[in-house]
């Protein structure tokens, strides 16, 4: 879309800049530059110049040079002081008047020096100061009759007037013959024929005219090959002439001029791009306006020598190259690269400044985490402005130290930590002198219990890193003077994101359920998908909480306790595992806090360190196993209590004299029974304990059927909702354990349940019943759907499960597993008879 408003605004600014600013500047600059250029050229010409340069038409015969040489000899013999060369036949100048000095005729007048005269003299010193044009009035050059460039008659460029040189003043001007002046013109043939009247060859001025014959065109002697090589001095002289006319650029040719202009314009475009990256987008329209204005001025000041169209074309090309090639595509590539990197990493790290209230809270929480008893954070906002104390926590007892912090901010090149005197008894006083890479300066004066910082190097390192981080997050911190270009930002951001991605990749491959990363001052940085799910399920949005809030809400501890815990963690670097209360999720979790110290240097490339890692470990199974162990132990404990109770009763009754021998025999028999029972139970208990110490998923041992049923049926109920099938189950009161695999009972039950769910029609129910016999526990799941052919059911339990799809494969696998456990799995089904799965497992006790 063409933004006409923006274009119009740019043009208006360009014109205003041109008129008000550039015009006088360019005039002065041009004057001075040309003056110095001319001075230089004069000196060069004086050093390397030749005496005579003669240009002969191409078609001249071979005698032309001889005749011209004769003319020159004649002129030399006359020893004139000057030679006036008339270029155009139409110009009529009275030579007599010219010689008398009565008329300020215009001619190319070149003085002639005697042989013994110095070839040239230095131009006089410029007494007008650096801004004044050097005096070029006194010039002692050499006689030249012609030369490419000096004959401008055929260029249609207006010749400049020059003043006739006079003997008295001794001053000479160089210039062109102006049109309209009357001068006697001698034809070129006259010169060749040596027919110039003597009176025009005087002792002062010789007027030589070069004019074509009637009806002939003036030869374009610029393009005429010279009879002898044109020495560099002639080019220098021509450049001198062009310089005096303010035509420095054209002295070297139009094509080269355009190329130089284009290159300069492209460079200007590149410079503008770099400037805009650093200074901001406001510079771009201003720079464009200045360039446009200078271009217009240059064309105007130089007249037709520097065509306005060429200037605009060069500038437009540069603008186009800048905007389309250099700027747009490059930025688009850079943004695409940045977006790809951003998408590669989950969540964006928010490293922007905080609002003041949040910042103050962070300072307080950080101080609590670090175990500080008091603090005072001082920030230098602007040069020449007083430092501002923005956070305070009771450091009034050290005024000298505070003054030192105020006035000594950021003197060094890096962040420093210094112990200070003036602290109260039992306390330490430390000063953190901050100066970050972005030229932000501040100081943090802290108080802590004796030994808290002096005795802990990690705590000191964390204090430095936290102070730098807090300074960077402050909303009032002055922006860095050296704002990076977009290239530097991309490079830095790439490093940061690569580091984050590598760390995240390492984190996601660890055996953790969910994690959230907080920076050193408790600001949330990122979390993984599992943590987001837990947050949604529990209603705790970790992304909106600080570290202290997150740990407090999850663990149920207050901020003070969490702060103490974090402080200890920072000091010893050991991770801590905190059991957490019910947070409203189906699984049970434990919170593990660990610290990744990183490098406490504040380098922006260390994006993820130092950080605090909060992990929610899924301990559901371990909790259940603990509870199973506890219930098993309680069960055996109760059984053993009963045995001991029985033994006590028997022993007491044996001591009772009231009992006769017959009763004593019975009592001893009971005692024997009890001890046998105890022995059996102890053996079973030992076996059960050994099995439950964790032999792996393949281990077969006592398992709680009731808990496995709970878990399997939770999942079945959820699955059943989607197909509108109810699950009816009455939780049995079981104290018995069954013999099953350590982690296989739930999947077996779930597989049977899924088969029944698949069979059950919408609106019906899948029923689960559990019955107990002396040696076994039988679990039956049945549905009232279409059923399966009995032959298929029989083959399922004895078939290679790899060939059976879906739920049938699950059941076949379950049957194989149950047989390994010493149990039994049968399917009772038939067409329109539903499915009845009967799982029989051995009781342990």
């Amino acid at each position: 879309m063409i933004r006409w408003g923006r274009i119009l605004r740019t043009l208006i600014i360009a014109l205003a800049v041109t008129v008000l600013v550039s015009l006088p500047v360019v005039r002065v600059v041009t004057e001075v530059a040309n003056g110095y250029a001319a001075t230089w050229l004069i000196r060069l010409d004086a050093r390397f110049g030749q005496d005579v340069v003669l240009v002969v038409p191409e078609d001249a015969d071979r005698g032309t040079e001889d005749r011209i040489d004769a003319l020159l000899s004649q002129i030399s013999a006359a020893a004139p002081r000057a030679v006036a060369v008339v270029l155009d036949r139409s110009d009529r100048v009275d030579p007599d008047a010219l010689m008398r000095g009565d008329e300020a005729g215009a001619a190319l007048v070149v003085p002639i020096l005697p042989d013994d005269a110095p070839r040239a003299s230095e131009p006089p010193d410029n007494t007008g100061g650096p801004w004044a044009r050097p005096a070029l009035d006194v010039f002692f050059g050499h006689f030249r009759t012609a030369g490419p460039g000096t004959l401008a008659a055929g260029t249609a460029l207006p010749p400049f007037e020059s003043r006739l040189l006079t003997r008295e003043t001794g001053s000479y001007w160089l210039g062109y013959l102006s049109a309209g002046r009357a001068l006697p013109v001698f034809g070129w043939q006259d010169i060749l024929d040596s027919a110039v009247p003597d009176r025009f060859i005087a002792d002062r001025i010789v007027v030589v005219a070069l004019a074509p014959e009637d009806h002939a065109e003036i030869p374009d002697l610029r393009l005429t090959p010279v009879s002898q090589p044109v020495p560099p001095a002639s080019l220098v002289a021509q450049a001198l002439q062009a310089g005096l006319d303010g035509r420095v650029l054209t002295a070297v040719g139009g094509t080269v001029t355009i190329v130089i202009a284009l290159i300069a314009a492209l460079e200007a475009g590149v410079v503008l791009t770099r400037l805009r990256d650093r200074a901001g987008p406001w510079l771009y329209p201003f720079g464009v306006a200045v360039m446009l204005g200078l271009t217009i001025l240059a064309a105007w000041g130089a007249g037709v020598m520097f065509p306005f169209a060429e200037a605009l074309a060069a500038f437009s090309l540069a603008w186009f190259a800048h905007r389309v090639v250099l700027d747009t595509n490059r930025r688009r590539r850079q943004h695409r690269q940045l977006n790809r990197l951003e998408l590669a990493v989950a969540d964006a790290v928010d490293t922007g400044p905080l609002d003041l209230d949040t910042w103050r809270t962070r300072v307080e929480e950080t101080a609590r985490t670090l175990g500080l008893t008091g603090y005072s954070f001082v920030l230098r906002r602007r040069f020449f402005r007083r430092p501002v104390e923005v956070a305070s926590g009771g450091s009034d007892g050290a005024p000298l130290a505070r003054d030192r912090v105020r006035f000594g901010l950021g003197r060094g090149r890096a962040t420093t930590l210094l112990p200070m005197t003036g602290g109260a008894e039992g306390e330490e006083l430390w000063q953190v002198d901050l100066r970050t890479a972005a030229s932000r300066r501040g100081g943090w004066l802290v108080r802590c219990p004796e030994g808290a910082l002096s005795g802990s190097a990690p705590r000191r390192a964390m204090l430095i890193a936290a102070a730098e981080r807090l300074l960077a997050l402050h909303p009032w911190a002055a922006p860095g003077q050296g704002r990076p270009t977009i290239d530097e930002e991309i490079a830095t951001r790439s490093r940061v994101l690569a580091h984050e991605a590598a760390t995240l990749d390492a984190l996601t491959h660890t055996a953790v359920s969910a994690f959230a990363v907080f920076d050193l001052v408790g600001t949330f940085m990122r979390q993984n998908e599992r943590m987001k799910e837990i947050g949604e399920e529990s209603g705790i949005d970790f992304a909106k909480l600080s570290l202290l809030d997150a740990v407090s809400r999850t663990s149920g501890l207050d901020h003070a306790a969490v702060g103490e815990l974090l402080s200890i963690l920072i000091a010893d670097g050991e991770s801590r595992r905190i059991p957490i209360s019910d947070i409203g999720t189906r699984q049970r979790f434990a919170l593990r806090l660990s610290l990744d110290a990183g490098r406490a240097g504040g380098d922006t490339t260390d994006a993820l360190g130092p950080v605090m890692l909060c992990e929610l470990l899924d301990v559901t199974e371990s909790v259940r196993l603990d509870e199973a162990r506890r219930s098993v132990a309680q069960f055996f404990d109760q059984q053993l209590r009963n045995d001991f109770e029985a033994i006590d009763l028997v022993a007491e009754m044996l001591r009772d004299p009231e009992f006769d021998d017959a009763i004593r025999v019975r009592l001893l028999d009971r005692l024997r029974g009890v001890t046998e029972r105890m022995t059996e139970r102890m053996e079973t208990f030992d076996t059960a304990l050994g099995d439950m110490m964790g032999q792996g998923a393949a281990a077969v041992g006592p398992q709680e059927l009731r808990r496995a049923l709970d878990e399997a049926l939770d999942l079945l109920i959820r699955d059943g909702r989607s197909s509108e099938v109810r699950v009816e189950y009455e939780r049995p009161v079981l104290l018995s354990l069954v013999r099953a695999g350590a982690e296989g009972l739930t999947p077996v039950l779930r597989g049977l349940g899924k088969l029944c769910l698949a069979d059950a029609p919408r609106g019906s129910a899948v029923t689960v019943e559990v019955t107990e016999t002396p040696d076994t526990i039988e679990t039956v799941l049945y549905s009232s759907g279409h059923g399966l052919p009995q032959e298929l059911a029989e083959s399922i339990t004895g078939t290679d499960e790899a060939r059976l799809p879906g739920e049938l494969g699950d059941v076949a696998r379950a049957a194989e597993v149950v047989r390994r456990w010493g149990g039994d799995l049968t399917l009772e089904t038939g067409i329109e008879r539903g499915i009845r799965c009967r799982l029989t497992l051995q009781k342990v006790v």
Binding site: R641, N642, A646, L649, D656, E658, L667, R670, V674, V733
Partner: protein, 120 residues
């Protein structure tokens, strides 16, 4: 002759207590859990119930709660190895419930039974 109902899941303990009480002239009946004990209590007349708390099917606390709806209940002597507070035991209005902590010797149990029956 007083009839005592013994409700305990451990058969050995029931036999021994029954033997001890029978030598003292009491008539006993046994139930392996609270459910069987309630059934016996509803069907027959007893002068005392000796009740264990930790039992399968229906534990002692559930048994006590279930007796709230019954009338003419005999006193109940609760034997418990846990730190149960006697005042926290559920009971029907007017029902006498006493708690005896385990381990308790046969003599102590016998003395408590005789005392309760004597006071009743």
């Amino acid at each position: 002759m007083a009839r005592i109902l013994l409700v305990d899941d451990d058969e050995m303990v029931r036999d021994l207590l029954s033997l001890r009480l029978e030598t003292k002239g009491f008539e006993t009946a046994q139930a392996p859990d609270g459910k069987a004990g309630l059934a016996l209590l509803e069907a027959e007349q007893f002068d005392l119930v000796v009740l264990d708390l930790l039992m399968p099917e229906m534990d002692g606390l559930s048994f006590l709660s279930a007796t709230r709806e019954m009338a003419d209940l005999p006193p109940i002597l609760v034997l418990s190895a846990t730190k149960t507070d006697e005042a926290a035991l559920p009971r029907a209005p007017g029902l006498r419930v006493e708690l005896l902590r385990k381990p308790a010797s046969a003599g102590v149990i016998l003395a408590a039974v005789e005392r309760i029956l004597g006071e009743s």
